[in-house]
Amino acid sequence: MEKGQNVDQWREWDAYYSPFDPCSPRQKYYLIPPDQMTTFQSAGLKQYSPHEALKRGTLWPDLYSPYPRGAKEGTR
């Protein structure tokens, strides 16, 4: 988790595509949220300012997860 928000939280996979599938194939992906990157938060992690923390929903950048995919840091 200490690598935090710099780690790409998204994983991609492909579903089997049959020639008889009616719709064109779509890339599948899912999220690995930051709570899965650690088992126990370490002490003294860098913090957001109070207003920034409220806006993002967490006090710690290492726990922040942007959404939707492709949303950049600070674009909330």
């Binding site: 002490a43 109070p50 006090l59």
Partner: protein, 90 residues
């Protein structure tokens, strides 16, 4: 059509300030629930408690009580707790 007097800009500013400070207190509380030996986090929480205390006093003086059951300062002449607007209305 609207029967409510609209609230001054300052209401929203104070409220936002309070929400930010309170949010830090929520985050630190949950953190301390699983890290109770982190004295640095505890000291930070105490520091934010003071900020909250001052903000609440300022907010309540202008816009009425924030806490029910006598937890807030009360006005001798008027029971302001039951006054609208309520949080989901503003």
């Amino acid at each position: 059509m609207s029967s409510e007097k609209s609230l001054p800009k300052a209401y929203y500013q104070y409220l936002h300030e309070l929400q930010a400070v309170d949010f830090v207190l929520v985050e630190l509380s949950l953190y301390l629930d699983t890290h109770r030996d982190d004295t640095q986090a505890l000291a930070q929480l105490q520091q934010f408690q003071k900020r909250k205390h001052n903000l609440v006093a300022q907010f309540e003086a202008s816009f009425g009580p924030l806490y029910q059951y006598g937890e807030s300062q009360t006005d001798a002449k008027h029971w302001a707790w039951a006054d609208a607007p309520w949080p989901w209305q503003v």
